[in-house]
């Protein structure tokens, strides 16, 4: 440990959740266990617990994402927190000073937590560094860098279906280059002790230093998913693509689109995941997306429990830190 992890309080409790990087297996497992205990709340008449009553959580979205914002909002409300939703388009905000000013103004409204989504890598870190000491920050996706709660809900989904991570073979398919989700997933999978993590993508959609992430690289879908337990499909992030990285969506589907037929190569009980939104007929066909092995909608439900866990752990550590 050469430098202190800004994500932890002085007592080593979760304070900010910005990236999977720097967290050990114990803490990631604690997040999954805490999320597990929240799932019982959804089966009750009153789907709400008073844990964060009186706390104010601000969804600070500089980049649109209806699904992510909604699940954060539902999670906060299930914990009885008050939620402010702020959608600030990046074009309207000059960076640096203005972001700080926005922050100061919101702090003056007694916000206890910021959930930040931003097109620039490092935006959530920036806010965490400059926020008042009692404020927690959760990264809900920053540029190409990280999307740690998405990765943790994926880990939760895998653990629910497969139990232990040791012995598992997991394949991540698609646009690894632009995917903050993939980066966070690979870190989380390796930290939790997954036996083999594979990435499957055309050369143009792989980062240059891919192998240093601790993955096996495949360029052929059918070879890559052979005998895997989990197939994670990624979204093609066309909005982030400049120039000709892809010949056409049609050709991409021919080579990398997941179909029931191709899925035969994976283990019989393999599960298929996707962070959404899915482009049917590009990343996978409808039969697979709605098929018996797809757990895509479960990922959304589990996302609420995981976000409840991260929020309550971060805000619960405030008192402990002092």
């Amino acid at each position: 440990m050469h430098k202190p992890n800004v994500q932890l309080s002085e007592k080593g409790k979760l304070k900010h959740f910005l990236t999977i990087d720097g967290f050990n297996r114990t803490l990631l497992t604690e997040i999954l266990d805490t999320a597990e205990s929240f799932t019982g709340v959804f089966e009750r008449t009153v789907k709400k617990i008073p844990l964060l009553r009186g706390k104010v959580i601000c969804n600070l979205f500089f980049e649109n994402s209806t699904r992510t914002q909604t699940t954060f909002e539902v999670a906060a409300k299930r914990l009885s927190a008050d939620v402010l939703n702020l959608n600030i388009s990046t074009s309207a905000t000059a960076k640096g000073e203005t972001l700080l000013d926005t922050l100061r103004n919101l702090e003056a409204m007694h916000v206890d937590m910021f959930v930040v989504r931003h097109a620039d890598s490092g935006a959530a870190h920036f806010i965490a560094r400059h926020a008042a000491p009692h404020v927690s920050v959760i990264n809900a996706g920053d540029g190409r860098h990280a999307h740690p709660t998405q990765a943790m809900l994926d880990m939760f989904t895998i653990r629910r279906h497969k139990g232990e991570f040791t012995g598992l073979r997991v394949a991540i398919v698609g646009d690894i280059l632009h995917s903050r989700v993939a980066r966070s997933q690979i870190l989380a999978l390796n930290t939790l002790g997954t036996s083999e993590v594979r990435v499957i993508a055309p050369r143009t959609l792989l980062p240059a230093a891919c192998r240093t992430l601790g993955v096996h690289v495949y360029h052929d879908l059918e070879r890559g998913i052979r005998e895997v337990d989990v197939v994670i499909m990624l979204r093609l992030q066309k909005e982030r693509m400049q120039g000709a990285l892809l010949p056409s969506e049609h050709e991409y589907f021919q080579l990398y689109g997941l179909t029931e037929d191709r899925l035969q190569a994976a283990k019989k009980d393999a599960i298929v995941m996707h962070p959404g939104p899915i482009k049917r007929g590009v990343e996978m066909d409808s039969l697979t997306a709605d098929g018996p092995r797809s757990v895509i909608l479960q990922q959304v439900s589990f996302g609420i429990a995981v976000r409840m866990a991260v929020m309550s752990m971060a805000l619960g550590s405030q008192g402990v830190a002092r």
Binding site: T34, K48, M313
Partner: protein
């Protein structure tokens, strides 16, 4: 640091549980409740409730509550990573509930437990049964059935250890550190 002494051993506690069973029976009869359900508060309350549930031959399975999500000191002590999900395997609506805990001291645990029960539905009534009732109440909460009332001062804390064998342990501590007996 505290110096722990065993106050009651398993056999004596078994005797208390028998007495509580009888007291509960006559109490329920008096209230004309023929079909109660039972909920134990994690962890000591559940150990005790399992024994009472067996002896009273209650038809519905035992419910258990982990009140961590309802604690009023959450922002001071933070998240307990070992929260067990609460399990109420029956509808609480219009049911008569026997709520079981090991030690009643401040009453805050019972307040939290009742809050949680009401998030599952609207029970007809709640009757509180505790193995130990002791001084230190901070809320107007009254047990219906009690196993024993040991005379303790506020520096002393009493804890049920278990699940096998059950023992009541008394410790002395200056700050009530680690005291779970509320």
């Amino acid at each position: 640091m505290s110096d722990n002494k065993v106050y009651l051993k398993a056999e004596a506690i078994g005797g208390l549980i028998d007495e509580m069973t009888q007291a509960l029976k006559s109490r329920l009869e008096l209230l004309q409740i023929s079909n109660p359900v039972m909920i134990g508060v994690h962890a000591g309350g559940v150990w005790l409730a399992q024994r009472l549930h067996d002896r009273l031959q209650i038809a519905e399975p035992l419910g258990s509550l982990d009140i961590s999500f309802y604690r009023d000191d959450f922002t001071r002590i933070g998240m307990n990573p070992q929260v067990k999900p609460s399990q109420i395997p029956f509808s609480v609506d219009d049911r008569h509930i026997v709520l079981v805990d090991d030690v009643l001291q401040t009453g805050r645990t019972i307040r939290a437990a009742m809050n949680e029960i009401f998030d599952y539905g609207r029970p007809a009534s709640i009757l509180l049964a505790t193995l130990v009732e002791r001084s230190g109440r901070e809320l107007p909460i009254q047990p219906g059935v009690v196993g024993i009332r040991p005379p303790l001062n506020l520096e002393q804390h009493i804890t049920l250890t278990g699940p096998e064998p059950l023992e009541l342990v008394i410790g002395e501590s200056k700050q009530n550190a680690g005291d779970n007996s509320d």
